[in-house]
Symmetry: C2
Subunit: 328 residues, 2 copies
DNA sequence: ATGAAAGCGCTAACAG
DNA sequence: CTGTTAGCGCTTTCAT
């Protein structure tokens, strides 16, 4: 078990003081003889020295750690979000501490506590809770935060999200064109989840005065299938709008089980196709977001906020795209 | 901008020395008056004090950081793997530093370097490279490592993987029963990826003497579609065996584009169905792994290794399951 | 039952 | 152009 090599070892070996080594490490070559510089470089190489991050952090109050809190790590949206975040920080000296709330409010809070203990320099948060007061822990410590996918209200921090409301307005037009008479919005509980609320509200807004019924069905409720089935039977030309990927697949499965024909018996469109939507018959129409870009932009904003540039708590909307296929 | 509260603040406020606070923090109550204890607890609560991890780490040489290096963060297998890992460490005091190699050997190495700089206490590695010498960086520093999904050879560290070889042997039996005459194994490059090699080798082993042709087609090669098509035409009763989820979906897409009927024109089975396999028509037969359990077990093994229990560099095999549906 | 003091590995005045 | 020194926030002997 070899001892770790420290800045002192390098200093001794290179025959200079550790100050000089520190200068070298931090790229302060202004007044360093090329001779010394070369000798240091060589010594570091030879001993395979890597400065200790904790010691640096302790001294500089800069951990170079970024916390990322996601609602549920095991879904496609999250994977791609993380891809974008990781890609961005890869180019920097920051490391990313990813924590999975597993859709538990308690666990999310505990994760955030842990992040604070780790002295993270900033946080990317996909909030589970709508009220900013819930996160006062972060406010108290004045930690830079950028929200992704969803945001608290009133606004506490900048957010990078999809253009949910606008896309639903567009969708409303399509529903009208195709003369649907009822839109059954299928979702997990939407209360307090800004993205879902915006998707729902945008639809209602786009449909006002059209005479088209909008009905929300939350699938965490018991027996949503029967409810949905009844609604479908009740209308001439109904369509399902599924507010996220998992719900979309639940809808497909539902239609299959009840032997409902898509789009004849019921139209279907939903969020987040993830490359599978065009594999099944009929090909499913969908709204495809760009989580990777959301991650990238959020990372970018967070970094500039960490570096002291004041970021106004504003929404950044990343465009999503409506993919019309055969199910609607 | 409020200053961080430190152990000194607590000491002063509570009217004791920081030694005592430290004792409190580390649960050393043996010789502490319940009076002092209560006072400390109260003060910590009031000031919302959290000990600084970097300072602790510097002193104890224990960062409580675990590095996780994955081949590609944006796929289902990985998501579920991370779920398992996170779930386990959630219950401990360790934090998880996830890094995405994005299938780049160079980036993987750079990530590992970064992990070492962060003084991680241990690493979970899904290795991109088969030769352990490639990872001598880790050997040099004597870092505890547990491999997942794949392993280097010769063995350097324990590995937690699926029962790839055995499952392929089972599959071979099924192929025989269904009297296929040719198995077209579809994969990304298999060389150096132990999981893929085991899946392939197991099949060959299970099929020796059966007269059934086995043909490997690597889809990173140019125009694998034509090659595959030719092979299919050439045999009476061929089947495709796709070695991972993404390849499986490529195969489905391929069949669709070439208007091949499954399973009449060609049988199909593949790894990692991820809940979609039974959504399409025909429902796709698949081998479903348990990445979450792999992650959990790897985390467990790593932790005991970090805690000094010598872990023999042995394989742990987590069973996967063959799901027979309509495509084979 | 508690404290004083040294030191983990590094950075940053300040000095020369 | 380089070194001396103090100190970041904590843990840990060694005292008492």
């Amino acid at each position: 078990m070899d001892k770790k090599v420290t800045i002192n070892d390098i200093a001794t070996q290179a025959g200079v003081s550790k100050t000089t080594i520190s200068r070298y490490l931090n790229g302060k070559f202004d007044n360093m003889s090329s001779n010394t510089k070369a000798r240091i470089e060589e010594t570091i190489d030879k001993l395979d020295y890597r400065p200790n991050r904790q010691a640096q952090a302790l001294k500089t109050h800069h951990s170079f750690l970024i916390g990322v809190s996601v609602a549920d790590i095991s879904n496609m949206y999250t994977s791609r979000l993380l891809k974008g975040i990781g890609e961005y920080f890869q180019k920097t000296h920051y490391q990313v501490l990813i924590m999975d709330a597993d859709n538990s409010v308690a666990r999310e809070l505990s994760n955030l506590e842990k992040m604070m203990t780790e002295q993270v320099d900033g946080i990317i948060l996909q909030p589970l809770v709508h009220q900013p007061e819930h996160y006062q822990l972060l406010v108290a410590e004045n930690t830079p935060v950028v929200q992704v996918d969803r945001y608290t209200e009133p606004f506490a921090w900048p957010a990078v999200v999809s253009d949910n409301f606008q896309k639903s307005v567009e969708l409303a037009k399509i529903f009208k064109t195709k003369s649907y008479d009822a839109i059954l919005v299928l979702a997990n509980h939407i209360n307090g989840v800004s993205s879902r609320m915006n998707r729902y509200n945008g639809l209602e807004a786009g449909l006002t005065g059209s005479g088209i019924t909008v009905k929300l069905i939350e699938i965490d409720g018991s027996d949503w299938q029967s409810l949905l089935h009844a609604e479908i039977k009740q209308h001439q030309h109904p369509a399902i709008f599924a507010l996220n990927g998992q719900v979309l697949w639940s809808a497909v499965r539902f239609a299959k089980e009840r032997s409902l024909n898509i789009p004849e018996d019921v139209g279907l469109i939903g969020y987040d196709d993830d490359q599978f939507a065009d594999m099944i018959t009929p090909a499913i129409s969908s709204v495809s977001q760009n989580p990777q870009e959301i991650g990238r932009v959020a990372a970018e904003q967070l970094l500039s906020s960490v570096n002291g540039q004041a970021t106004p708590p504003k929404n950044t909307r990343i465009p999503s795209e409506i993919q019309m296929r055969d199910s609607l």
